[in-house]
Symmetry: C3
Subunit: 348 residues, 3 copies
Amino acid sequence: MEFTAKLIADFLGGSVDGDPNVKVHTVAKIEEGFPGSLAFLANPKYIPYIYTTKASIVLVNNDFVPDQPVEATLVRVNNAYEAFASLLNLYAQSKQPKSGIEEPSFIHKSAQIGKDPYIGAFSYISEGAVLGNNVKVYPQVYIGPKVKVGDNTILYPGVVIYEECVIGSNCIIHSGAIIGADGFGFASSEETNYKKIPQIGNVIIEDYVEIGANATVDRATMGSTILRKGVKIDDHVHIAHNVEVGENTVMAAQTGVAGSTKIGKNCMFGGQVGVSPHVKIADGVKAGAQAGISGDIRKPGVIVLGSPANEIGKQRRSMAVYKNLPELMNKIHELEQVVEELRSKLNK
Amino acid sequence: MEFTAKLIADFLGGSVDGDPNVKVHTVAKIEEGFPGSLAFLANPKYIPYIYTTKASIVLVNNDFVPDQPVEATLVRVNNAYEAFASLLNLYAQSKQPKSGIEEPSFIHKSAQIGKDPYIGAFSYISEGAVLGNNVKVYPQVYIGPKVKVGDNTILYPGVVIYEECVIGSNCIIHSGAIIGADGFGFASSEETNYKKIPQIGNVIIEDYVEIGANATVDRATMGSTILRKGVKIDDHVHIAHNVEVGENTVMAAQTGVAGSTKIGKNCMFGGQVGVSPHVKIADGVKAGAQAGISGDIRKPGVIVLGSPANEIGKQRRSMAVYKNLPELMNKIHELEQVVEELRSKLNK
Amino acid sequence: MEFTAKLIADFLGGSVDGDPNVKVHTVAKIEEGFPGSLAFLANPKYIPYIYTTKASIVLVNNDFVPDQPVEATLVRVNNAYEAFASLLNLYAQSKQPKSGIEEPSFIHKSAQIGKDPYIGAFSYISEGAVLGNNVKVYPQVYIGPKVKVGDNTILYPGVVIYEECVIGSNCIIHSGAIIGADGFGFASSEETNYKKIPQIGNVIIEDYVEIGANATVDRATMGSTILRKGVKIDDHVHIAHNVEVGENTVMAAQTGVAGSTKIGKNCMFGGQVGVSPHVKIADGVKAGAQAGISGDIRKPGVIVLGSPANEIGKQRRSMAVYKNLPELMNKIHELEQVVEELRSKLNK
C-alpha cells in the first residue's frame, strides 16, 4: 500500500509543503530515511537531518522554519510526534491479532472468561479469576485466584499476577512483570530472626496503565497498592507495598518507590530514581535520572535532581561548584597564606 | 468471625485500655480504620491518626501515652508491630493451602518429591532433583537437575532454579526470581573477544530465607554463592557470583552486590545500594538507600550513606555543606576582595 | 579422572615449577584449596594465599615471583586466568548436553527448527520462527512470531523473545531476560492521557552475545535496537529502544541505557551505571559503578566516575575535597574571623 503526501496530510488534518503527490509505503527515522519512507521531526537535536534525509515525506510541527533548502515533502501538523504516533497506530493495527484458546492451557472451571479472548498455551488461570472481553493472555502467563482483568487488556508472555489483584481495562503488562508479590515487611523480633508480616492486601491497577518488562508492583500489607489511571512504568521499575501512584505519572526504567509512599498526578521520573518510604510527592513533580528523594515534596511542579534530591536550580549550582572543588580548596590555601603574611606584617 | 478486645489481648499477652467487649472482624491501616476493624500503631509518624481513627481496636506499645482522648479501645502489648504480625499470620493461615500435582507438569522419573507436595501445572522438575516435604511449587516453575529444596519451602510462579543449587527449608522465593544463573565472568583474551569463564559452582540458600520478585542470585564460578539463614532480599536485588551474605541480613529492592563480596550478619541495606566486588563488610552494618560501598567496612554496626559511602555523621556534614556550596564560594570571593583591599592598604 | 601437573602444563603450553607428577582431580579457589585440587592466582589481592593454600597445583602468570616458599606445584602460563578458564571449559563440556524435543511443547507448524535441537517442555515457538542448528531452548521459553535464532545459541528457562527479533549464533541468554518488549515511548497529547507510540522496530543481537538473568532489551520504535558481536550484559541490565551497543562492550549488573543512545566498542561499565537518552559514547570508555552519564563522551578510552559522571582524575579530586567539606567550611570561618580582626586593627 502506498499513500500520497496529500492523503496523509488530509488524514492528519495538516498541510503539504512540497509535492502533494509523492508516495510512501513505510516509515523510517529521519537520519535513516530513504525514498518511499515517511519520517518525522520533533526533537530539535535532529533538525540537521532534515536537510540531508532521503525520506520522501517528513512530518514537522507547524512552526518549523527551515533555514536551508529541504528536498523532502513536508507535511505540517500541530504536533509531529503525536501525528507520527497516529500513523504508527494505523500500521500496528493492521496486524492480525491473536485469538482463541490454545492447548494445553489451565483454566479453572470457576474462572470466568469474557468474549473474544486469547489464551496462549501454558497459561494458568486460577479459581475465581474474572477476565473481561477481548483480553489477551499470552503464553506462560499466571493469573492467581480471584484476580480481575478488565476489557482489552494485554498480558504478555510470562506475566504473573498474584491472588486477588485487580487490573483495569486497556492495560498493557509486559513480559516478566510481577504484580502482587508480597511487600517486603518483616518485624524484628526478640529472637534473632525476622518475623514475616503477612501481606494480606492487594494491587489495584486502573485503566490505561502500561507496565514494563520485569517490573514489580508489590501487594499491600493491608489495603491496596494503587497505580491510578494512565500511569506508565518502564522496565525494572519497582513499586513497593502500599504505594499510590497518581494519574498519568510516568517513571523511566529501574526507578524504585519504597513502601507507603504517595506520588501525585502527572509526575515524571527519570531512570534509576529512588524514593524513600512514607514520603508524599505533589502533582507534576519531575525528578532527574538517579535522583534520591528522601523527604516530602509539597510544591506541585517542582523539578529535583541529585541524591539527596534538591530543587534543580540549587542542585545545579552546587554541582557546578562541586566540579571545581579542588580549585576552591587551592584558593582557600592561597588566602590563608596571604592572610598570614598580612598578619605578620601587621603585627611586626 | 468476630473477636473481642479481651480475647485479642489474652491471645497476645497484652492488656485492654477501653471497652474489653468491643468486637472486630477484620484489619485495617490506622489511617483507614473503620468500625469493626483492628489497627496498630508502631511508627511515631502515625501517632496523629490514633486520635481520629475509626478503627474499633488499636494495638499500641506498652509505653504509648496519648496526649488527647482516644476513642478506640487500645490493646497494649510489648511490640505492637510484632503483635499485629501475629494476628495477620493467623488470618493468612486460615486460607486453604494448595496441594496435589496438577497436569500437565513435567517431573523427571529420577526426581524425588516429599510428602504433601503442591506441583502446579507447567512446572518442570529435572532429573535428580530432590524436594522435601510440604514443598509448594507453583505453576511454571523450573527446577534444574540435582537441585535440592528443603521442607515447607514455597516457589511462586515462574521461579527458575538452575542446576545443582540448594534451597533450604521454610524459604519463600517470589515470582521471577532466578537462582543460579551464570556469574558474570569473562577473561579478556588476546583476540578481541572475551572468553567465557564457565561457572561450575552453585548457590546455597539456607533456611528461612525470603527472596523477592525478579531478584537474581548468580552461581559461583567455583564453590558457592551463599545466603545464610534468615536472609531477606527484596525485589530486583542482585547477588553476584561467590558472594556470601551473613545471617539475618536484609536488603531492600534493587540493591546489587558484586562478585566475591562477603557481607556480615544482621546488616540492613536500603534500596538501590551498590557494593563493589571483593569487599568485606562487618556484622550489623547499615547502608542508606543508594549508598555505593567501594571498600571494606571493618567496624561492626557502622552506618554509611552516600556514593562513595561514608560514615553517616561525616557524610551528613559533607551533605549539609554541599547544599550551601554556592554560598561558600561567594564567601570565598568576598574574602578574596577584602583581603585584597587589606593588602593594598597595608602596602600603600 | 586425575591429571598430573606435567600433563596440564603441556595442555596449556606452560611450564612446571615443582613436582611434575603431583595429581589433581578437581578445581578450587586458592583460598579454599585442598590436596588434589587445582587453583589459580591472577588477582594480586590473592597473592598471600599462595603461601598457605593446600591446593596441589596453582596456575600462575609467567612473571610471578614468590617472595616466600610455596608448597604447591606451580604451573606457569602466559595468562593464569585465561588458562584456568580453558580448563573449566573442558570440565563444563564433559557434561552431557540436553537434546530432543520434550512434550508438551508448542511448535507452530510454520516454524523451522534446525538440526540437533533441544526444545524443553512448555516452550512456545510461534509462527514463522526460524531456529538454527544445535539451538537449545530450555523449558518455558517464549519465541515470538518470525523470530530468528542463530546456531548454537542457548535460551535458558523463561526467556521471552518478542516478535521479529533476531538473535545471532553462539549467544547465551539467561533466564528471565526479555528481548523485544516495547520501548517506553509515549506522546503527551492534548488530552491528559499519554498516547502510546507503537513500537514497530525490533532487536538485533549479533553473535557471541551473553545476556544476564532478568535483563531487558527493548525493541526499537522504528529500526532496530542493536547489541553488536561479543557484547556481554549482566543481570538486570536495561537497554532501551533504539540503543546501539558496540562490539565487545561489557556492562555489569543493573546498568541502564536510555533510548537512542549509541555506545562504542570495548567499553566497560560497572554496576548500576545510568546513561541518558540520545547520548554518544566513544570506544573503550570505562564508567565506574553508579556513574550517571548525561552527555556525550567523545574521547576514546576515557574513564569516568560519579553522578553526574566526570573524568576520573577530576572526579577523584572533587571527591577527596567533598569528604573534607566541613573542615573546609571551618577554615573559611576562621579566615573570616582573622580577616575581620586584621581589618579592625588596620582601621583603628
